[in-house]
């Protein structure tokens, strides 16, 4: 599967309620070592109510400059969340359906201080 097919795909819960759109895919380099680096494992999906401008990642990092832009983009993407891959029932280019009892987590990248506006 090509990752670009997942980006911007709608995310629904088990009852079919639309929760948002996939704006990014979180990877962790802890897969089998093949070459110099471990293979990136799909750890989770970042879901946001809107897709545009999320590629700048202000809602996930502690970046606060330029201040006005950072505050605006973080505000624009409030309501974003991370859902672990294990909570995904099925993912395809048509959309992502989450399993019953899925959990939402903070979208902040671990190890980076997340600053709220």
């Amino acid at each position: 599967m090509i990752l670009g097919d997942l980006l911007d795909a709608p995310v629904v819960d088990s009852s079919g309620r639309v929760l948002g759109f996939v704006v990014d895919v979180r990877l962790v380099l802890d897969g089998p070592v093949d070459g110099l680096l471990a293979a990136p494992r799909v750890h989770g999906l970042l879901v946001s109510p809107r897709t545009g401008t999320s590629f700048l990642g202000y809602e996930r990092t502690g970046l606060d400059a330029p201040a006005l832009l950072a505050r605006f983009l973080r505000w624009r993407h409030r309501g974003s969340f991370l859902v672990h891959w294990t909570d995904v029932e099925v993912a395809s280019a048509d959309g992502v359906r989450l399993a019953d009892g899925y959990r939402r987590w903070s979208p902040a990248i671990p190890g980076v201080a997340h600053q709220r506006p």
């Binding site: 962790v28 093949d34 990136p40 494992r41 799909v42 409030r78 891959w85 995904v88 993912a91 395809s92």
Partner: protein, 144 residues
């Protein structure tokens, strides 16, 4: 306009504070933030291509389930300019693969541990060099 949920249909309060997840053991990368559109450099620091997309899961699969571990298998590069403007994506057959095992470092650029000449992604450049540039008088040696 890019897709978005209208405020009235958003299922959760926007300013909700969510719990921090447990930090995973390996290096954490967000695909769009840290990999896509990055320049790849070969072992001699020569630019090779940009990362236009990633191949995840078994090649050819179109449906993934959360019960299975899914890994990135290759970086993909290809003619994406038109599809970036007009939408869609080029067919998978037009995208060139660079196996993840060739990647040696991920930073501002993605570094590869192989020579660019050995990768399929540069075949157009090699073809133009051999069949067009090489036939121009003086095209087969350094200037000067």
């Amino acid at each position: 306009m890019s897709p978005r949920l209208r405020r009235s249909t958003r299922p959760f309060p926007p300013d909700e504070t969510l719990p921090e997840p447990v930090r995973p053991a390996g290096l954490v990368l967000d695909a769009r933030l840290h990999l896509l559109d990055r320049q790849t450099l070969d072992v001699d620091d020569v630019p090779v291509a940009t990362v236009d997309d990633l191949e995840i899961g078994p090649p050819g699969s179109s449906l993934l389930a959360g019960t299975d571990s899914v890994f990135v298998t290759a970086l993909l590069s290809g003619p994406v300019l038109a599809t970036r403007i007009f939408g869609g994506r080029p067919p998978a057959s037009r995208l060139h693969r660079i196996d993840w095992r060739h990647v040696t470092d991920v930073g501002t650029t993605v570094r590869l541990g192989v020579h660019g000449d050995s990768l399929d992604v540069l075949w157009v450049e090699r073809w133009v060099r051999d069949h067009v540039i090489g036939r121009i008088p003086g095209g087969r040696h350094d200037p000067g």
